[in-house]
Symmetry: C2
DNA sequence: CTGTTAGCGCGTTCAC
DNA sequence: GTGAACGCGCTAACAG
């Protein structure tokens, strides 16, 4: 071990973890020995002894959805800066799998947990309650978070989308949204949509279409709406990938956007601003959700008392796929 | 502790880890006690004692690039099935950061490591050599892998792309590729492009344009090519996001694809098949790279001796953004 | 099939 | 500023 190289045993630990507590000369000697031998401290042993693991468990539905990839990027950027490692789990939108993952991650004694949404299996709540570590729920704005929370109001954001459509003179709307079972974000967006309908006196031409995010599903949904309810004059897609797929389908079918039909998306992915026509959407703080979740976690671990609910802003970004002002039809 | 609930100490460990080695009655008693108390074994302690952590370190340039997200999905699917956890690190395409991550992950005593590419910092090689764990390099097809490897020949795949363009009668090509410093995948694709040029007697109208993957960068690159070298009749974009951005820019500029200019991408993301016109591209096994890397790791950990190099297939998918047969211009 | 003993490699606590 | 003892919670090895 590196200890032979220097002269001491535990001094190595101090030289590495609390350098200021060690005399400069001995510290340098230790560091040199570490360098020479290529000694890598065993963090497992360290964590076991100190009961602090410098590890954060992160659970997302899937990394494959770029909004979660962005969140992970945000988390990773600030956590790695602070010397923390990420333990990643993917739930596939299943509360049962999520509960399994929580259990599996908890077994690794993470310093904290970052999970997605606020709809969890009962077992998850039990586990989280018993585990005495900070937990951040993300992408949501629930009344009573398990512990901490960073997100935005999906409902208000969807309402704002409908308000934008109403302002553009659209009257007959359709909603295309991610499957809502076990997905409080999707559910919130539907609620906001419904509230907007009522508030602005608009009508819904057909029941919400639930579709997993993909361009193809967006295209299919557009086709279905156009064929089943041609009088529909605008569609709210609860994510940009679906919306972009629909825009592409409009092009194939020669459906005029935004005049024949208005399209609004959600997320403000890069594709929104690059599409032809450019996609109107609701911009949400994907990266900042992760970055802020990480910061809250770190502050809490540092012993600070912090406001446990952080509500970030969203913004309707009006572009070319919707009319900006009332047309002649209202 | 759960041990009180039952009657034993290590029997708990056995009942949980090697159930078949424990009498059914006692096993059930233990499991019941575990259930009742909500006992979660401390894996840190277990790993320390057994020197096996059931953890795999995964390093990608960024999760934000969906090709790596797909790989992670593949890894995650087979690893979690086997009870392994993923420790995630993002290098941001920097060999120095990668080396730091390798060191940080090694400190967690992972059972194995899955890294990206074959171009690493010297320190990474040193660390990997000293660490006595299986390592899988992915997305690459180098001659002498550090340990194991799963990927495909980026060079051959790029060559195939050029071959496709040549067959379509395109003669004056341009290349748009990810920044090639420290990126052996991008470098390989350029080499394949160059080889194709030579082999088919085509010419390159301007030096390779290096651009990070984004729709905007693809659009800008297209503009640059068209303006600087209007005689260019086809462009090979080394990823689909760039290519899709270019296609969108073609639409804005009313540039006819595939007749005025042919566009071929790389990766076969969903956007390729949904674009208008549909994008010709090179399909690569993004998910399977991850899934196979995980399988190789598990087999090795199980003590099997396996073929350390796995070369997967790619395929040129001819769609509408390139001509299929020689036009009248050659 | 089950228990006992010992020790994984550190950090804590308390001496010096 | 440095060291010695002890223990974190579990599993390896060996007994019984």
């Amino acid at each position: 071990m590196a200890r032979l190289a220097g002269v001491s045993a535990i001094t190595v630990s101090r030289a590495l973890n609390t350098p200021q507590k060690v005399n400069e000369a001995t510290r340098n000697a230790v560091l040199k020995a570490v360098e020479d031998t290529g000694y890598i401290p065993n963090r497992l042993a360290g964590s076991l002894a100190s009961n602090r693991s410098r590890t954060v468990g992160v659970i997302v539905p899937t990394v494959t959805n770029s909004i979660f990839a962005d969140k992970i990027k945000g988390l990773s950027d600030v956590l790695s800066e602070a010397g923390y490692q990420i333990l990643l789990g993917q739930s596939g939108y299943s509360p049962e799998v999520e509960a399994e993952l929580v259990s599996a991650l908890l077994a690794q004694s993470p310093s904290g947990l970052v999970i997605t949404g606020s709809a969890h299996a009962l077992r998850t709540h039990t586990l989280l309650g018993r585990a005495d570590i900070p937990v951040v729920e993300t992408w949501t704005n629930a009344e009573a978070p398990v512990d901490m929370q960073v997100g935005f109001s999906n409902e208000d954001a969807a309402f704002a989308a409908v308000a934008h459509l109403a302002a553009g003179g659209y009257r007959s709307l359709a909603l295309v949204v991610a499957p809502m079972v076990h997905n409080d974000r999707a559910l919130g967006r539907k609620r906001g949509f419904d509230r907007g309908l009522a508030h602005f006196g608009l009508r819904q031409t057909l029941p919400p279409i639930e579709a997993e995010f993909s361009l193809r599903n967006g295209a299919d949904a557009l086709a279905r709406v156009i064929e089943a309810q041609p009088q529909t004059d605008a569609i709210f897609f609860a994510n940009d990938v679906l919306a972009a797929g629909a825009l592409l389908e409009c092009r194939r079918r020669n459906v005029a956007v935004p005049d024949r039909i208005g399209i609004i998306g959600f997320d403000d992915l890069e594709i929104a601003s690059e599409m032809v026509p450019r996609l109107t959407t609701v911009a949400v703080p994907r990266y900042d959700i992760g970055a802020n979740a990480a910061r809250m976690l770190l502050r809490r671990l540092a012993g600070e008392t912090i406001q446990p609910k952080l509500t970030l802003d969203f913004e309707v970004v009006a572009r070319e796929s919707t009319r900006r002002t009332c047309g002649d039809r209202v």
